[in-house]
Each structure stands twice: as structure tokens, then as C-alpha cells.
């Protein structure tokens, strides 16, 4: 196949001085699944890193590989059918893929915590939430049962569970969705992880509860310097929480930039299309009468089992040329810290390509 594997080794491009602050670094990750229709390259050469106290947002449409990348970090890909086929994942410099399962167990939940979209999948329905949070604490910090329970209640208080001491005796099903997500966060944060990976933590929640949860995560990052990887498909959440952003499409990273550059000067046609398809909530003022049409990205995401040759976005891209269909564009740094995998990125950036 005529494919160039993107090489974006130091994804900060050496422009940001604090490389030593990098806590988690994914490099050239390849994760694949065996399926009846062949090998599915769910994650195909993805690299990103996150620094202490930073929020990195990972965005993209469903099925583009956001969760599989995150699960690969914690080595939670079930095999078979899944397999990490290549790349490196470094936590504070050491390669997680080379660690023993016992070492990995120490990392999970202690150094790197993850919260998922549906908290019920990660809470045990048979135990009270107090017991689950306190066991997580006791397991990782060697506290007595009593001390751990006290800390669990304090933790539940911190995540704004009303009446935490008595709520600790509740079972997961007795709580609302927002409350369960707060318990998950309490568990995830109870050991002061250095990295928090939050996979669509608020997608199932109402906006007022979402605002509470995002505030909690922000506070954790600010007070303890936790590095946050926030996976979302909501560009509003990205604009309001990210320091840097990685955009994924069909298993690859197609753009990376700091948040202001990404929103104000996107370099990839896919990113530009995504931003155009969002209704503008402040539009009522500017267009009191008839609404302007939303920009559409035509067609749909290709199946990973039969990706087009060349640029995966070509069938949907208004700027595609014959060259795009032949050779996949490499990820190139177009501006300091601003990377894009598109043959026409310079024209997009210059506003020449319409």
C-alpha cells in the first residue's frame, strides 16, 4: 500500500520549553483488532503527550479511536481480538508497554486514573459507594480501613455529594447519573493521580451537571497539577477547557494545536468542517430572522476495515485533489506547535483554499 506513516516524534516540536514537564507520552501507537472483515487499525500511528497541570483534549467523531488510544495507555485492550501492535507509551519516562502486569497494576488508579462515560460499568453494584471509594484508597495508599473510610467521605464531600457521610452507605443504583459520575471522579482522584484520563465524562449528563463535573476536574488540575487528557466530541467543552487539542480522524491524529490556534486558525479541512457544523448559540443576536445554514461535512466516516487509499478524509473533503487520493499526507508542523496532516494545510491556513 502506498502509505506514508506519519512521523511526529516530538509532538511539541521542541517549541515549548518545558519538555521535562511531560508526564505521559504516546508515540506512534498502533492498536488493532481482528475482525471477520480483516485487521482493523483502530489506532494507526497516533502520538500525543500531556504535561503536568495541562489539559489536553482529544476530539473526533465516534469510532475514530479516541477510547482505544486511552485504553491502550492503561493496557486495558482485551486480547484477542485486540492487540497493541506498535509504538511506545511512556509515563514519567518509563515504557508502560514493557512493564510487567504487576507493575502496571501499581500504575493504574494510582499514577494514572481513568473515568469513563458510563460510571455504572466501573462501579460495583453490590457494594456501597463508601466502601468502593475507601477500598480504592486503602489499596493504593496502605491506610487502615477506618482512615480510608474517613478519607473516602472527605473525597465524596469534595466532589459535592450532598450529605456525604450518609450517602457513603448508598449503592450505585440509588444515585442519579450525575451523582454516580461524581463518585467515579472521587475514586479516580482519591489517590492524587499524576494523570487523569477522562473519556467523555459528561456526555451522558445534563449541562448543569456537566458544568459541575468540569469544574471539579479543573480544580484538581489547578490545585494538584494533575495532567488531564479529556476525550470529548463536544467542541464547546474543548474551547472552554483545553490548553492543547488533538483532532483524530479514522484512527489517526490529523491536527494538533494549542486551543486558540485550533479554533481561530484550523489547518485541517476536517477541523474547519467540524467547527462550521456547530450551531452558534450566540447567533440569535446576529441573525434574528432566518438562520444561516450550517456547514455540512458531506458523507460519513469511512469504515476502518476499508479505508480509502491516500488521505482518509478525501472522500468527504471539498479540497481533495487527485494527489490526496494517492498518497496519505504526513503530519507536518506548519506553525510552531501547530501540526496537520493535509497536503493543502498551508493554503487552508493562509485562507486561500475555500
Amino acid at each position: 500500500m502506498n502509505r506514508i506513516v506519519p512521523r511526529d516524534v516530538a509532538s511539541d516540536g521542541g517549541t515549548t520549553p518545558a519538555t521535562s514537564d511531560i508526564v505521559l507520552e504516546i508515540e506512534g501507537l498502533q492498536t488493532e483488532f481482528r475482525s471477520p472483515s480483516g485487521i482493523i487499525r483502530a489506532v494507526d500511528g497516533v502520538s500525543y503527550n500531556v504535561r503536568r497541570g495541562e489539559t489536553l483534549c482529544v476530539v473526533g467523531e465516534s469510532g475514530c479511536g479516541k477510547s482505544v488510544t486511552a485504553l491502550s495507555v492503561l493496557r486495558l485492550i482485551t486480547s484477542p481480538p485486540g492487540r497493541i501492535a506498535g509504538g511506545q507509551i511512556r509515563f514519567e519516562g518509563s515504557d508502560l508497554l514493557a512493564m510487567s502486569e504487576a507493575e502496571m497494576e501499581r500504575i493504574r488508579g494510582n499514577e494514572i486514573s481513568m473515568i469513563f462515560q458510563e460510571p455504572m460499568t466501573s462501579l460495583n453494584p453490590l457494594y456501597t459507594i463508601g466502601r468502593q471509594v475507601s477500598e480504592a484508597i486503602a489499596l493504593h495508599q496502605g491506610l487502615s480501613r477506618r482512615e480510608a473510610m474517613d478519607r473516602a467521605v472527605a473525597m465524596l464531600q469534595r466532589v459535592a455529594i450532598p450529605d456525604a457521610a450518609s450517602r457513603a452507605g448508598s449503592y450505585p443504583h440509588q444515585l442519579s447519573g450525575g451523582m454516580r459520575q461524581r463518585v467515579m471522579i472521587a475514586m479516580a482522584l482519591s489517590c492524587h493521580p499524576k494523570v487523569l484520563i477522562a473519556d467523555e465524562p459528561t456526555t451522558a449528563l445534563d449541562v448543569t451537571i456537566q458544568a459541575q463535573i468540569l469544574d471539579l476536574i479543573r480544580e484538581q488540575r489547578e490545585t494538584l497539577g494533575t495532567a488531564v487528557v479529556l476525550i470529548t466530541h463536544d467542541m464547546g467543552v474543548v474551547a472552554e477547557t483545553a490548553d492543547r487539542v488533538v483532532v483524530m480522524y479514522a484512527g489517526r491524529k490529523v491536527e494538533e494545536a494549542n486551543v486558540a490556534d485550533l479554533f481561530e486558525r484550523p489547518a485541517h479541512p476536517y477541523t474547519r468542517g467540524l467547527l462550521g457544523s456547530i450551531p452558534d448559540i450566540e447567533g440569535a443576536a446576529r441573525h434574528p430572522g432566518r438562520r444561516p445554514r450550517l456547514t455540512e461535512i458531506k458523507g460519513m466516516v469511512p469504515s476502518l476495515a476499508k479505508l480509502p487509499s491516500g488521505c482518509s478524509f478525501a472522500p468527504r473533503c471539498g479540497l481533495a485533489t487527485a494527489a490526496c487520493q494517492e498518497v496519505a499526507p504526513p503530519l507536518v508542523q506548519h506553525r510552531p506547535g501547530h501540526w496537520a496532516a493535509c497536503w493543502r494545510a498551508e493554503q487552508v491556513l493562509a485562507g486561500i483554499a475555500a
Binding site: I209, Q212, G236, A239, P279, E296
Partner: protein, 336 residues
């Protein structure tokens, strides 16, 4: 129908469901899913219905269509009272009132082809012969952006966005006047959301359709609606045109909702927001007085005992909050 008669007129609509014993604590009770709401929808108009999950949006839509029987209140369609019409008498109205569901996966019969799904309402209502029906289906497929040969495919062979197109084609089959759209784009990726929103807007312009557009995404509702009703715990707390709602929200809950919506612009970062504490109370044990008083930043003594009525504080702007009793009062502040 005269100029002044709205297409739909709903007055004091209520729907209570009995609660199973023990589910919400001791004894039996009632879920006041929809608790006395009133609104109108004009021909060619979109009324948006927003609010957090469980506030009664879907029940309102389903009750309006008489898919569930209202506990109380009145529903008028083109001026006719349809609140308690029985099967045959209701039939002609059913043709004019259709629904598009949130989950295109769950709402389509997996054993029927896409063509059969779209044709089915025509068969049920005995409209046209076989050939005419097929032509109509072909026309509908083209209109919603499906390819003709896709008639023969089954729902599982379609993507989420395409399934929603099938749902829209089916809803259009009987040339309705009103479509209740219940979270029609909530399950779709943004790029596909935009396709469906544009399609719904185009169809409205071409066919003069009215929509009741139910969603929890305020940006989507703001984009598509002419007027918007905000619901909280079964009641409408604010109802006005979209511009007033988004520029000068008067109800504290609307203000909080709007400020909680993340805006996809870097310039919106760090803006002042009202973050509500706590959760929406249970619709079985609703707070006394104003339902919102347990979370309202401007709560005062009166709110706990007396429920504010939805009233017009100025032309076309209805609010249910004690703060605006003597006309719109901004900025919102607790009375002293």
C-alpha cells in the same frame, strides 16, 4: 382555520404516571411528568422545548400526539378539540401529526427494509395503489438524501445519520402538518447533526411544516426554533422568541442553563457563569412553591411557599418567577 387559530393549541396539559410501590421510597405516588403546560404552535413555526433529562419533554410531545392519554387539559389541532377523540375519529388527525424519535436504532423495525418502513404509513392509512406508493417512497428517498437502491437495505446496514433520514422520510410520507422531533440529532456526530438540521430546516421551508423540537442541546434548539419553551420538573418556566430567550433570559433557571452551555469559541473562555449546585429533584417529591427554589441563586422566602404562575411580563415573553411580578427585572437579583 382563521389567521388567528394556531395549528396546535395546548392548554393546562397534565400527565401523571402512577409510581410503583417502593421505587421512590414508601407508599405509592404519582410522577407529575407534565404538570400543567400551555403553548401554541403556528403553521410553519418551530417551537423548541428544552430542559434537563426527566423534566417531561418527551411526555409532553407524546401526550400532544395522543400517544399517551393526558391526565388533564386540552389539545386543539386546527381549532378542533382532539383531547379525547377515540380511534376512528382520531385517525385523520394522526395523519397530520407525526413524530421523529431520538434513537433511530431503536425506532425502526429491524425486519423491514428501509423502503417498507417508509411505505408503511401509506399502507396503514390506505393511501394510493402499489405503484403510487412506490413512487411516493422513491420521491421521499430522494428528498431526504437516500439513494434509490437503499430501499432494499435493512436498518442495520445504515449509519446513524442515514437511519435518521429514514425516520424523517417515514414521518413525511403522509404529508403531515406537524412533526414532533424528539431529540432527533442528540445521538449523532456533529458533522451528521448539521446535515440533519439543515434537512429539517429545508423541509420546513418547502412544505410549511410545524415542528415541536424537543432537545437538551440549547445551541441546536436556538438554531432551529422560532420560539423556545424551557421546562423544569414538568412545568414551563419561560417561553419566548429565540432572540429574547438567548439575549435576555428572565428565569433564573434559563440563565443558569445558558451559562452552563459550553460555547465553541475561545473568546468565551472564563466568562462568568452561574453554576447550579445539586441535582434536579425527583418529580415524585417535588419541592413546595417554586419547583426551582432548591437550586435557585435568587431564592427568597416567598418562593418556598408560593408557586409563581407563568405570565407575560411583556408582549410574547412568558416567565414563571416571582422576581418579575411587576414586569421584567434585570439583572436578576435576590429581592431585599
Amino acid at each position: 382555520m382563521s389567521e388567528a387559530t394556531p395549528l396546535v393549541e395546548v392548554r393546562d396539559l397534565q400527565k401523571h404516571f402512577p409510581v410503583r410501590r417502593g421505587l421512590f421510597g414508601a407508599g405509592s405516588g404519582q410522577v407529575h411528568a407534565v404538570d400543567g403546560i400551555s403553548f401554541t404552535i403556528a403553521a410553519g413555526e418551530t417551537l423548541g422545548l428544552v430542559g434537563e433529562s426527566g423534566c417531561g419533554k418527551s411526555t409532553a410531545g407524546r401526550t400532544l400526539l395522543r400517544l399517551v392519554q393526558p391526565s388533564q387539559g386540552e389539545i386543539r389541532f386546527r381549532g378542533d378539540d382532539i383531547t379525547s377523540l377515540d380511534g376512528p375519529a382520531m385517525l385523520p388527525y394522526r395523519r397530520s401529526m407525526q413524530m421523529i424519535q431520538q434513537d433511530p436504532y431503536a425506532s425502526l423495525n429491524p425486519r423491514m427494509t428501509a423502503g417498507e418502513i417508509v411505505e408503511e404509513p401509506l399502507v396503514i392509512h390506505r393511501i394510493g395503489g402499489r405503484t403510487e406508493r412506490r413512487e411516493r417512497v422513491a420521491q421521499l428517498f430522494e428528498r431526504v438524501g437516500l439513494r434509490p437502491e437503499q430501499r432494499l437495505a435493512y436498518p442495520h446496514e445504515f449509519s446513524g445519520g442515514q437511519r435518521q433520514r429514514i425516520g424523517i422520510a417515514r414521518a413525511l410520507a403522509l404529508s403531515p402538518a406537524l412533526i414532533v422531533c424528539d431529540e432527533p440529532v442528540s445521538a449523532l456526530d456533529v458533522s451528521i447533526q448539521a446535515q440533519i438540521i439543515n434537512l429539517l430546516t429545508d423541509l420546513q421551508e418547502e412544505l410549511g411544516l410545524s415542528y415541536l423540537f424537543v432537545a437538551h442541546d440549547l445551541a441546536v434548539v436556538e438554531h432551529i426554533s422560532h420560539r423556545v419553551a424551557v421546562m423544569y420538573l414538568g412545568r414551563i418556566v419561560e417561553l419566548t422568541d429565540r432572540r429574547s430567550l438567548f439575549e435576555t433570559p428572565l428565569h433564573p433557571y434559563t440563565e443558569a442553563l445558558l451559562s452552563a452551555v459550553p460555547i465553541a469559541k475561545v473568546s468565551a473562555r472564563g466568562r462568568k457563569r452561574v453554576v447550579l449546585s445539586g441535582d434536579v429533584p425527583s418529580p415524585v417529591n417535588r419541592p413546595s412553591g417554586c419547583h426551582f427554589h432548591t437550586r435557585c441563586p435568587y431564592v427568597h422566602a416567598r418562593c418556598r411557599s408560593e408557586a409563581p404562575a407563568l405570565h407575560a411580563v411583556r408582549e410574547g415573553h412568558l416567565v414563571a418567577c416571582h422576581l418579575h411580578e411587576a414586569g421584567p427585572t434585570l439583572p436578576l437579583a435576590r429581592p431585599n
